[in-house]
C-alpha cells in the first residue's frame, strides 16, 4: 500500500501532526517507490523554480517619471478582507428586504434634507452634525466602471467623458443624479445639473483612452485599463480613490449611452 499524493504533498510541506509525519517518514523509510515519488516531486518543484527565475529589468527611471507626472497607483491590501459571516438563505432574504427599505429611506432623506450649512431659525443649540462627505470621484480598481458620487449640498457638477477610440462608454445617473442633464456631443458625454446621487461611468476594458473632466480640468484618465489620477486623491476604504471636486450650477434630465467614435 503506497502513500496517497495528498499525504506526500503534506509531508513535503511539513504539514500535519507530528504523529502523522512520523508515520509517513516510517513508510518512506521502507518504501522505495514512495521515496522516489517524493524525490520526483522535489525535482519538479526545483525545475519549475529554476525555469521561471527571471531577472527584472532596471527601469526605476520609468517609476520616477510616472511619479513626477503625478500618477497615482492604488495598490491592493496585502490580504483580502476577511470573509463576511454566512447568513442562512431565509434570513438573507429578510435582511435584503430590510436593507432595501433602509436604503430607500436614506435616499429620501438625502434628497429632501436641507443643506447642513443652512442657518437654524430657532437659534437652538444642537449637537454638531457630522460633516457631509464631499462630492467626489471613487475609482474601484480592476473594474470596468467607476463612480462620481455627489452628495448635497455640494451643488452641481459638470463632467465630461471624452472617448478617443470607437468604444462605448455609458454614464448613468443614480438617485438624485438621474435628474441630471446628459448630452452626447461627438465623442463626449456632457453631464450637467447634478445635485446629488451618483454618476456611474462604465468603461469597456478594450477602451484605449477615456478622459473624465470637471470643466476643463482633467480628473481621471483611463488608458488601456490603467487609471491616472490628475487631482489630489486620498484613500477611501481599501481600494478606491476619492477626489474633492468643485461644483457648478445647473439642472438635469435623462441618461444616454452614445457610441463614441470621434
Amino acid at each position: 500500500m503506497h502513500l496517497r499524493d495528498r499525504r506526500i504533498i503534506a509531508f513535503a510541506r511539513r504539514e500535519g501532526s507530528s504523529r502523522s509525519r512520523r508515520r509517513t517518514a516510517a513508510h518512506l523509510e521502507r518504501c522505495p517507490a514512495c521515496r522516489a515519488r517524493l524525490g520526483r516531486m522535489a525535482a519538479i518543484r526545483d525545475a519549475v523554480r529554476d525555469a521561471t527565475a527571471v531577472q527584472a529589468p532596471d527601469r526605476f527611471d520609468d517609476v520616477l517619471a510616472r511619479l513626477d507626472a503625478g500618477e497615482v497607483v492604488m495598490l491592493p491590501a496585502a490580504e483580502a478582507p476577511p470573509p463576511r459571516p454566512r447568513v442562512p438563505r431565509r434570513a438573507a432574504v429578510a435582511l435584503a428586504v430590510l436593507a432595501l427599505s433602509v436604503a430607500a429611506a436614506v435616499a429620501a432623506v438625502t434628497v429632501l434634507v436641507p443643506p447642513a450649512s443652512a442657518p437654524d431659525p430657532g437659534g437652538a443649540v444642537t449637537a454638531p452634525a457630522a460633516p457631509p462627505p464631499a462630492a467626489g470621484l471613487a475609482v474601484p480598481l480592476a473594474s470596468d466602471s467607476f463612480m462620481v458620487r455627489i452628495v448635497p449640498p455640494s451643488g452641481s457638477l459638470r463632467v465630461r467623458v471624452g472617448v478617443t477610440s470607437g468604444d462605448v462608454v455609458a454614464v448613468r445617473g443614480v438617485g438624485a443624479a438621474s435628474r441630471s442633464r446628459f448630452q452626447a456631443v461627438g465623442a463626449a458625454i456632457h453631464v450637467g445639473g447634478v445635485s446629488g446621487g451618483e454618476l456611474r461611468i462604465s468603461v469597456p476594458a478594450s477602451a484605449r483612452r477615456v478622459l473624465v473632466q470637471h470643466g476643463d480640468a482633467p480628473l481621471v484618465e483611463v488608458v488601456r485599463g490603467r487609471f491616472r489620477i490628475h487631482a489630489p486623491a486620498s484613500l477611501e476604504g481599501d481600494s478606491a480613490v476619492f477626489l474633492d471636486i468643485g461644483s457648478t450650477a445647473g439642472s438635469g434630465s435623462d441618461a444616454v449611452q452614445p457610441g463614441g467614435s470621434p
Binding site: 499524493d5 495528498r6 504533498i9 509531508f11 513535503a12 510541506r13 511539513r14 504539514e15 512520523r22 517518514a25 516510517a26 518512506l28 523509510e29 522505495p32 521515496r35 522516489a36 517524493l38 524525490g39 520526483r40 516531486m41 522535489a42 525535482a43 519538479i44 518543484r45 525545475a47 519549475v48 523554480r49 529554476d50 525555469a51 521561471t52 527565475a53 527571471v54 531577472q55 527584472a56 529589468p57 532596471d58 527601469r59 526605476f60 520609468d62 517609476v63 520616477l64 510616472r66 511619479l67 500618477e71 497615482v72 497607483v73 492604488m74 495598490l75 491592493p76 491590501a77 496585502a78 490580504e79 483580502a80 480598481l141 480592476a142 476594458a205 478594450s206 485599463g225 490603467r226 484613500l235
Partner: protein, 195 residues
C-alpha cells in the same frame, strides 16, 4: 536516498508557514518609512533590493513578461502611498510580495480571457544541468490553468502556507489544498517519464 533515517525525508523546499522573504530587516523598515515620507532615494534603494523577487513572482503568477514588467512598475509607483497602510513592522519584504501578488492577480482578473503562460518567453536555463527537465517544467507550468498555477506558485515556489495563500487569493484554506493537489497531479502527469 540511501539514508534511512526519517530526517532524511525532510523536504528541501520552503517550510510550512514560513515567512517568505522576511529578510531585509531594520534597513528595509527605515527605507520604507523614508519612502512613505516621499524620499525618492529610499524608494530607489527598495526598488534595487526587491525588484527581482517582485518581478519573478509577478511573472510566475501572470505568466507574462509584459504583465510582470507592468506589475513591477505599478507596485513601486504605488508604494509610497501604500506604505501609509503598512503596519507589519519587521516584515517589509513579505508584505511587499503579498501586495505584488495581489496586484498580479488583479491584472490577471482584468484580462477578459486568461492568458496562458507563453512558453516561448520562459527564459533559458542558466546552466546545462537538467536543462531538458527545466524546459519541460516551464512548459508544464505554462500549460497549467491560472487557477492552479497561482496556488502552486504561492505554496510551492514562494513557500506560503495554505492559510497565507488563501488570504492572498481570497479563497478558503480547503480550496487552496484542493487546488495544490490538482496542480501536482497535473504536473506529475505532464512530466512523468514515458513508459
Amino acid at each position: 536516498m540511501s539514508d534511512s533515517t526519517p530526517g532524511a525525508f525532510e523536504p528541501s523546499g520552503p517550510p510550512h508557514g514560513s515567512d517568505p522573504g522576511a529578510s531585509g530587516g531594520p534597513e528595509d523598515e527605515a527605507l520604507a518609512r523614508a519612502a512613505a515620507e516621499g524620499s525618492r532615494k529610499a524608494l530607489g534603494v527598495l526598488y534595487q533590493r526587491h525588484r527581482d523577487p517582485v518581478y519573478r513572482l509577478a511573472y510566475r503568477l501572470t505568466g507574462s513578461i509584459q504583465d510582470a514588467e507592468d506589475v513591477l512598475q505599478d507596485v513601486f509607483v504605488g508604494l509610497p502611498r501604500a506604505l501609509e497602510r503598512y503596519e507589519e513592522r519587521g516584515r517589509f519584504r513579505s508584505w511587499l510580495l503579498r501586495v505584488a501578488a495581489r496586484t498580479s492577480l488583479m491584472r490577471c482578473r482584468a484580462r477578459r480571457h486568461p492568458a496562458p503562460m507563453d512558453p516561448a518567453r520562459i527564459p533559458a536555463p542558466s546552466s546545462d544541468d537538467g536543462v531538458v527537465e527545466r524546459i519541460a517544467a516551464g512548459e508544464a507550468l505554462a500549460a497549467m490553468s491560472e487557477t492552479l498555477r497561482t496556488v502552486f506558485v504561492l505554496c510551492e515556489i514562494e513557500g506560503y502556507s495554505h492559510r497565507e495563500a488563501a488570504a492572498v487569493l481570497d479563497i478558503s484554506v480547503a480550496a487552496s489544498r484542493t487546488r495544490l493537489h490538482r496542480a501536482w497531479a497535473f504536473l506529475q502527469d505532464r512530466l512523468s517519464p514515458e513508459e
